[in-house]
């Protein structure tokens, strides 16, 4: 697959799988207002995923639609960051995952505004506004939970310890990233680290949370090598669509 297409798919799949995870919350959140809030974030991410998948389909040039790409690819063909496929856990774990991704997506979309690919720059211009709100929402909750009660503090600190090792992947530049950066299409993965670290550290301080030590093992979801969780996500997401080949809905 050409790097340009793979790169767009990485961003698309990360939004798609995170939207899918957030969709599991709707109707089960800690307060009605949070049902609405999580649904809004999920809708924004789905919107991004649809635009990006359609674009990836065009780049690929095999006539595949957003749905073909979402519903008919195998697990190893999904290029999302491993972090977003992690289970929701409790609300604290969902907030931590969301915050780490929001801060990363904001860096990414801000830099993509300068992309030499006008389509990506256009999508980023829309997504950056949405992502600023997502970060505001997740950071607000991270601070409340980190600072709130002993229990809430322990829960989010625990979630952070659990999810932190999965952030390494977001900043490790591989062959695809290098080519993309050289072509001026997008930032190298490592270029997102300074801005992300600064954002994350500021909120951790307010939330009284300690950043764990980075683990030496790095995940490679963006190369199609996933944790055990993605298979289940896809089995559920794709089941109906695959049961009726060629049907329209």
């Amino acid at each position: 697959m050409m790097p340009h297409c793979a790169y767009v798919l990485r961003i698309a799949d990360t939004s798609l799988i995170l939207a899918q995870r957030l969709g599991e919350w709707v109707g089960h959140a800690p307060a009605i207002e949070e049902d609405l809030g999580l649904a809004n974030v999920s809708l924004d991410l789905l919107g991004q995923a649809r635009m990006l998948l359609s674009y990836a389909g065009e780049l690929e040039g095999r006539g595949r639609s957003e749905d073909d790409l979402a519903y008919l690819r195998e697990e190893s063909e999904f290029l999302n960051a491993t972090l977003v496929e992690q289970p929701n856990g409790d609300f604290g774990q969902t907030v931590v995952r969301q915050f780490l991704v929001d801060a990363w997506q904001l860096e990414l979309y801000e830099q993509l505004l300068e992309s030499k690919d006008p389509r990506l720059a256009e999508i980023a211009a829309k997504a950056v506004k949405e992502t600023r709100y997502h970060l505001r929402y997740s950071a607000g909750w991270l601070v409340r939970l980190g600072d709130g009660t002993d229990e809430s503090h322990a829960r989010v600190q625990d979630a952070l310890t659990r999810l932190w090792p999965l952030t390494g992947e977001l900043f490790s530049t591989d062959e695809v990233d290098r080519e993309i950066a050289q072509a001026g299409i997008g930032p190298a993965a490592e270029a997102l680290l300074p801005g992300w670290s600064a954002r994350v550290a500021a909120v951790f301080a307010e939330a009284r949370l300690a950043a764990p030590v980075m683990s030496p093992f790095s995940w490679h979801g963006k190369q199609g090598r996933h944790s055990e969780h993605l298979g289940f996500v896809l089995a559920e997401m794709q089941s109906l669509h695959r049961a009726h080949p060629g049907a329209t809905w």
Binding site: A31, E33, L36, G37, N40, Y137, G140, R144
Partner: protein
């Protein structure tokens, strides 16, 4: 309630539909802090582009008149017809008045 948790406080929400209009009361919601109140108002009351500005006010901070006082407060304005332009009889030939 079966548990001892405290309720989230109530906020009244006012939305400006577009610039040039007043903020209008749209309802209430529950939140624990000002920032959350704005975010919840955004998610609950502006899902269909209903607003460009939000005010959130703690319900307990609002002072309201009592309907039982309505006669005292509002009846005295009723006979002040001279406050309205239609009270004055001006001949038709006088223009732009």
């Amino acid at each position: 309630m079966t548990d001892n948790s405290q309720d989230w406080p109530l906020y009244e929400i006012f939305i400006r539909a577009r610039s040039g209009l007043d903020h209008k009361h749209v309802g209430s919601l529950h939140a624990t802090d000002a920032r959350m109140a704005i975010e919840h108002a955004r998610d609950l009351y502006t899902r269909r582009q209903e607003g460009v500005s939000i005010w959130a006010v703690r319900s307990s901070d609002i002072v309201a008149s009592d309907p039982a006082d309505a006669d005292t407060l509002f009846e005295p304005a009723r006979d002040k017809v001279y406050r309205h332009p239609t009270f004055y009889d001006i001949p038709d030939e006088v223009k732009t008045l």
